[in-house]
Symmetry: C2
Subunit: 511 residues, 2 copies
């Protein structure tokens, strides 16, 4: 590291980088609307008590990580084998003693830095698909080129605040090396914040090392520049891979999303209250552990909840039961005082049709009202997460735009009330040309670039396209007009040198 600090371009290049101006849109949403409370405080408190019972009586398994077990034991947990039982209230106390209620995740362009927690909302692309789909090619395995394309599209959108993580799996690259290319792509082709690799502790280390090159060692030591997704192996298991990645990030003061991944009926009971309780218990244990690794390291209470088709066993999306879980768990996160991750344009549909849209909207709109702080899977998700859709991505961006407008709340100023306009126009006339309309129309309504509001005749004359076909035109145009954000060549070189050195340190792996 000392080596890097001395390099010619190094510190000054990074400073110049971090002072670069211009962001065309707000870096994240500051909500001006209240949340929806599905349950009252008494019911929430019942869930908290039951979660305590799970933690105390049944416990959580921390697998394959003796260091974790030692830390937990020292903190007062009861350890039997890999089963960890927590005295009542222990997890909450640990979390509330040190976990931040909100934190800044810095971007290399400081105007893109986001605040995660409280009334803030950060919209993040979908994550983890091995396949992509688009209208032209149908469905096929994803490549690093697809990955770059989605990073470019997310960079260009005013409605996504984050570059995401494994937007899709670049399966054309070796498993043990692809994290370098993914992290580099986020760093180089975007200037928004990004997520780190979690598939092995050493890949998390690589992410942190690359972040130190990009932001500087001192800066990374004192600031959060990476968020990463740590999934629980529900029910009630943290596995060694995830614990390993968690330890790397927390130790480096980087943020982790502790995310139980529950398909009710399979990984949790079929009922909403039970699923919410189990999710909460699992997340509590993970967040508490992170605070033992490094008190004050940022955590996000994450949930991924789906119900299950009782015919096929497949997960279902946009259905009422996970919507209810979303509201309950969001309220529990607020009571605990930590940022909350959930939501997104989830769907089971294979294609960007009406099913995809109903299901996506049914999650997105509720996630908005549930006060989600970190909305993973905002855009692109198809087929239960197996495919990343180019057109779906564009359609979901438009929906993310709606959320920007709704969350601004209602203008109750004199102008907002427009009484003078109503006086001026009076009964039976129209407001099209009124001075109030002229003064406000530019900003009055959210303008979709994808919805067709024209007459039937005009729509037909323009080819009678459906929304997915319009989205196809849009992503192609966006990719054509993409321009890389600038980066000091010395920094870029340093990143690439690190990657080459590391890649050469171990052989290709078949996959």
């Amino acid at each position: 590291m000392a080596d890097r600090k001395k390099r010619a371009g190094g510190r000054s290049a990074r400073q110049a980088e971090r002072q670069r101006p211009k962001a065309l849109s707000a870096a994240y949403i500051k909500r001006k609307i209240p949340v929806y409370n599905l349950l009252d405080e008494e019911s929430l408190s019942l869930i908290e008590n039951n979660a305590d019972t799970i933690l105390q009586e049944i416990g959580i398994e921390f697998r394959g990580d003796t260091e974790a077990l030692d830390l937990l034991k020292e903190a007062g947990a009861d350890i039997k084998g890999e089963r960890v039982r927590f005295p009542k209230g222990m997890c909450r106390t640990l979390i509330q003693a040190s976990a931040p209620k909100e934190f800044i995740q810095h971007a290399r362009n400081p105007e893109r830095s986001v605040v995660i927690g409280n009334d803030n909302m950060v919209l993040v692309p979908a994550y983890g698909s091995p396949f992509i789909r688009n209208v032209e090619e149908g469905r096929r395995y994803a490549t690093i080129e697809d990955f770059r394309n989605f990073v470019k599209l997310a960079y260009q959108s005013p409605y996504l605040h984050h570059s995401g993580g494994t937007i899709c799996e670049p399966v054309d690259l070796p498993v043990n090396k692809r994290h370098f290319d993914m992290v580099y792509t986020h760093m180089r082709y975007s200037d928004k914040p990004f997520m780190g690799s979690v598939t092995a502790p050493e890949r998390a280390e690589d992410t942190v090392e690359m972040a130190k090159i990009l932001f500087g060692v001192d800066f990374v030591e004192n600031n959060t520049v990476i968020t990463s997704l740590i999934n629980a192996n529900s029910p009630m298991v943290w596995d060694s891979t995830m614990l390993g990645a968690l330890k790397v990030y927390s130790r480096n003061n980087q943020a982790v999303v502790l995310s139980p991944f529950c398909i009710s009926g399979a990984m949790s009971p079929v009922t909403v209250a039970a699923t919410s309780t189990q999710l909460y218990a699992e997340a509590l244990s993970g967040m508490a552990f992170s605070q033992l690794v490094r008190p004050g390291a940022p955590v996000i209470f994450g949930t991924f909840s789906s119900s299950m088709s009782m015919q096929s066993g497949a997960p279902t999306f946009g259905t009422p039961e996970p919507q209810q879980v979303l509201y309950i768990v969001g309220a529990l996160a607020r009571r605990l005082g930590v940022p909350f991750r959930s939501g997104g344009g989830l769907c089971a549909s294979k294609i960007p049709d009406a099913q995809a849209a109903y299901e996506a909207a049914n999650t997105l709109q509720h996630a908005m009202l549930a006060g989600v702080n970190f909305m993973l899977h905002t855009a692109g998700w198809l087929e239960g997460g197996l495919a990343m859709g180019y057109e779906k991505f564009i359609m979901d961006l438009d929906q993310a735009g709606l959320i920007h407008s709704f969350t601004k709340g209602v203008d109750l100023s004199e102008n907002g009330f427009g009484l003078d306009a109503i006086r001026e126009i009076g009964p039976g006339n129209h407001f099209l040309g009124s001075s109030h309309t002229q003064a406000n129309f530019e900003t009055a309504f959210y303008r979709s670039e994808l919805s067709d509001n024209n007459s039937f005749e005009q729509w037909e004359a323009e080819g009678g396209l459906d929304m997915a076909q319009r989205a196809q035109v849009k992503w192609k145009t966006m990719l054509e007009s993409y321009e890389k954000p600038s980066m000091d060549p010395a920094l870029d070189e340093e990143l690439q040198a690190y990657i080459n050195r590391r890649k050469n340190s171990f052989p290709d792996q078949n996959y």
Copy 2:
């Protein structure tokens, strides 16, 4: 009427009719969830004050109806020409003195009767389209056969509680006679509650007369069996046609939905607060008038709010601003103490694609949380209401099903919490075969009959259909399996005799 009472089948047939049992599903939704409060009470009170200012200073025009002006003058309003100005609080006082907070709209099958108001929710088909669309035929003018088809489909759905009104315009029938066929179709092909004709006062009279045949004269005098849609001619005008229909229904103790129809930017100012205030003022004046016609006659505070594309002037749907208006106006209705109509599967899309679905869901889900009591346009709406879609109807029914599950709220019983199941399964195992899952899986999750949750491979093997194509199969199957609800032949004969007599009393009209 004395004549009808004496007829052979008459009274006993009607009694038998009204005692017929079996309803396969709940007649309406009893909400077990709280509403979402977008604004606080203070802000709502500000809107109420501003609406009073509109009513007092600017006033509302009651056009072409001297009887209305006389009634309003007598009640204390200030009349200048057709402009009616209301002293502060007058409308609210009139409404709160006599309008019911909830009322029963009776169906000919008493198990289908619905309660409108308070925590109840009645889902109603879309209304008023001159065109229909389906996958096979594309878009064409609607006929009485289409009308019958939609009545049949609504009758078969467990998720619609109401047969609706002008589901589509049967343009193959003369304008001055088609109301007979529409009302008769609701009466004969369904046993759910229905809406009456409003296109002329005498057509409203015909609706009431036919209802007297179906339900009995005494029953109709003392009970509400018709709901009808009275649109304001926004801004701030009630026209003579609507006032005429209103008077007929209110005088007969039948329900009216007083519905300002506002496209913000055209019929109201572009801002949300202004639109909400104007809608409220308009509806107040209409509801107050109905209470002058007959104190205690049931009213529903209706709104239809859309924003406008500032490029084309066309209405847009599923956008944030009307969502906000929906929450505000719903809260104002609750404060006033009257049932509230809004919402539905609104969209601007010409076809049942992703745009249609995003937009529909973006209204439906918010209407659910806003506590809408009478959800007009729940199913079928396309192209800003110009077309009724067969496939869209089926897709929206599925979405209406979701609402049934969500509004049941969360089961916080011992079974709902499922702690024993979590104890039984423990970390790392699955819940698929647990006794809790076995006991609950039948009812645990909403089951869509239209969403495809299967694997990509299975979906592809089954033809790779999109949701609209699956909906096409579904409505055809439903129509094939449709069976008319029974009706005493004497009643049917009496209805048809009334229709024939009336139809023959005036010549065909070209249209």
